[in-house]
Amino acid sequence: MKIFVDGKEVIIKDDERNLLEALKNVGIEIPNLCYLSETSVYGACRLCLVEVDGKSIVTSCNLKPYEGMVVRTNTPEIYEIRKGILELLLASHNRDCTTCERNGSCKLQEYAEAFGIRKIRFDNILKDGGMDNKSPIVRDNTKCILCGDCVRVCEEVQGVAAIDIAGRGFLSKVTPAFGHSLSEVECVYCGQCVAYCPTGALSIRNDVDKLYKVLKSKKKVVIGMIAPAVRSAIQEEFKLESDLFIAGRLNTFLKMLGFSKVFEVPFGADLVAYEEAHEFLNRLEKGEKLPQFTSCCPAWVKYVEEFYPSYIDNLSTVRSPQQAMGSVIKEIYSKEIGVSKEDIYLVSIMPCTAKKFEAEREEHKGVVDLVITTKELAQMIKASGIDISSTKPEPFDKPFNLYSQGGLDFGKTGGVLGTVLAVINHKVKVKNVKEEEIDKGIRLFNVELADGRNIKAMAVHSLGKAKRVLKDIKEGILDVDIIEVMACSFGCIGGGGQPYPNDSKIRQKRAKILSDMVNINPIASPQENPYLMELYEKYLEHPLSHKTHEILHTSYSPKRRVPEQDIEILPLPIPEEEKVKVRVCLGTSCYLKGSYKILSDLIEIVRKEEWAKNIEVVGTFCTENCSNAPNVLIDDILISGADTNKVKEMLREYVRRKQEGVSDVS
């Protein structure tokens, strides 16, 4: 349709969501701080005001365009209002830009500059701070402008809702429940909140100094590895066009810095896809643990552990490319170069916030020593003064510098699945693949195998969509064999560690760049990767061998979602030794399976029956044994799949033995 914007005729699409979006799509950016195309409209910043038909001033983010409307986006009155709003924001903002993680990439800073704000007429009242830096995601409320973007993304796009706005009025603040740290609640570290935050309120823990310390000490052999998605986005930090050789240039830079070797994470991707394809075929044959879920995405893995622990067994036991590579380097490559693994400092360069968490997880500690994000690497380059665009690209180091198209494709949605299917095709020919888009972010693939079997595969991106798929599977609506999930929409290219802005438009651009890089790669699929096959020959033997299980596989466990606490139900004021403590788990899985009934029955028993008088009943959140809910603990003994009678019997027995002084109880 035709509308008039600032005196000029503009053609916009007929079905645009609102005026702001419509003009964005034709290159006219109306100032705004709280609008996201990916979420619901919030209308909080009031910067996007426009004058319509010469009469009213309204926000353009919820204005439906109509044929012939006359819009002025930048009248003097509107300019004054915008400036006033920015001044108000800055008045209660932590204006220490020079020491802020987002110095130079902050939207508020950008507007302050554009509107020429030199003086703030209002009192500087800082918001209640409370820095939360216990996890890879750092929160600083003194820089928060309460745009609500993080909250809406976490809830609507990711379906997690670990944070929300608490309080009211001037005292509002974004926080997890009860002001806990993100590390104490159900946050999965996908970093999408960081991806959309317009200021420095949410950022990623900057670990660059750690790297420099190690480089300076010269005591370790520093090895690096770069993920696929990094090369599709890092050039944005330097305002450069896409560059097919950027990865090679990064390699050169790292060598200049003092890295001994730099490897390609896509090699690890090939390795993972190869292992996983075999794992899948194995499960398919046995008809067990299906559907299989990919496990390369640590945020997705944590999501399953927190919210759907009953599906933990469905996760592929193969580690992520980062961890698989790390394992191979520390256990196999170290021996090859004759360096003990304690002397190797392995640095992984990732687009992802959750990878920092993955490297520090109990199951993977000590394998990857440091994770650096795309942004941090860009900082290092800027600090060096080196012009990355004219740095000579050099090949990565053998033997982990060759990879297939699929390996590189891991960086975006569909990549893992595609590569796995490529391996499957090699083993059992694939006759036909039919693709169907069920919804934005959910693609279904009908794979017809030559031997007549039919595999239903899915590629899902963003956790919100994954939630939906899981729900459908649970309710029996969906029947799928293998599902690839990437927590970030459009895949790793949209990770929390990627440059800002990091919205859907940019991600699609990055996907195209990665596609170009993928398509010129001569190696089509993992088994054509000679170095990969060599690795198996020399060390790993064959997929799913004992050796690969040691080095390349892992396990997972349910995670509780609330901070540790026991809730006193019927506290007993007698000495600890005389008590028998019974803890009933009240977490979701156990609750849904009736743990509350067990609790109330137990309370009755303790009240009425003589033998039970020394029993103290306590509620607890999450014994992390969710697939065998309900769970009850008698002192330290775990009873799973409990019911009142079972617990009562065991309790009776336990109390009797305790009284008789028998020490071993089982």
Partner: protein, 161 residues
């Protein structure tokens, strides 16, 4: 703060409101009435029962003025710390309360009977030092008088119990 809590009551409240998500505010109002505040573990419990993320429930609980996340005593004691009262010895009153009830400013007794807060000027400077208990103003106080007032209140509560 150890408090005796029986989730039976919480279940009753949830049942009364049909386990409906849109009844969250009504549920929290009943919880507030029952416990005189909204405890964290109750929020976690409700989160599980209603399938609402705790952060969202916390957001609702901190938005409305009727909810308090810190327990309030049956008797809320406000000790004025305005200039006049401070000079006249409000600190010694705080000390007396600590001796009698074993709580300091911002705290609540274990049985939730008394809570103490220090506040700015109540505007009764001529009666300094001043203490207000549930809107009843007590002036010209000494530590001994404070203890007596509290003792009387405790007795009254025992009689009614």
């Amino acid at each position: 703060m150890k408090l005796k809590r029986n989730f039976t009551k919480v279940e009753e409240i949830l049942k009364k409101h049909e386990y409906r998500k849109d009844n969250l505010i009504k549920i929290l109002l009943d919880i507030q009435k029952e416990y005189r505040y909204i405890p964290e573990d109750v929020i976690n419990y409700i989160g599980v029962a209603l399938d609402i993320p705790p952060a969202k429930i916390y957001g609702v609980a901190t938005f409305y003025a009727q909810f308090s996340l810190k327990p309030k005593g049956k008797y809320t004691i406000l000790v004025c710390d305005g200039t006049a009262c401070h000079m006249a010895g409000s600190t010694s009153l705080i000390g007396a309360i600590k001796e009698e009830l074993n709580i300091g400013p911002g705290e609540v007794t274990e049985d939730l009977m008394f809570s103490l807060d220090q506040v700015g000027c109540l505007g009764a400077c001529a009666l300094a030092p001043v203490m207000v208990i549930n809107e009843e103003v007590y002036g010209n106080l000494t530590p001994e008088k404070v203890k007596e007032i509290l003792k009387n209140l405790k007795e009254r509560e025992m009689k009614n119990a």
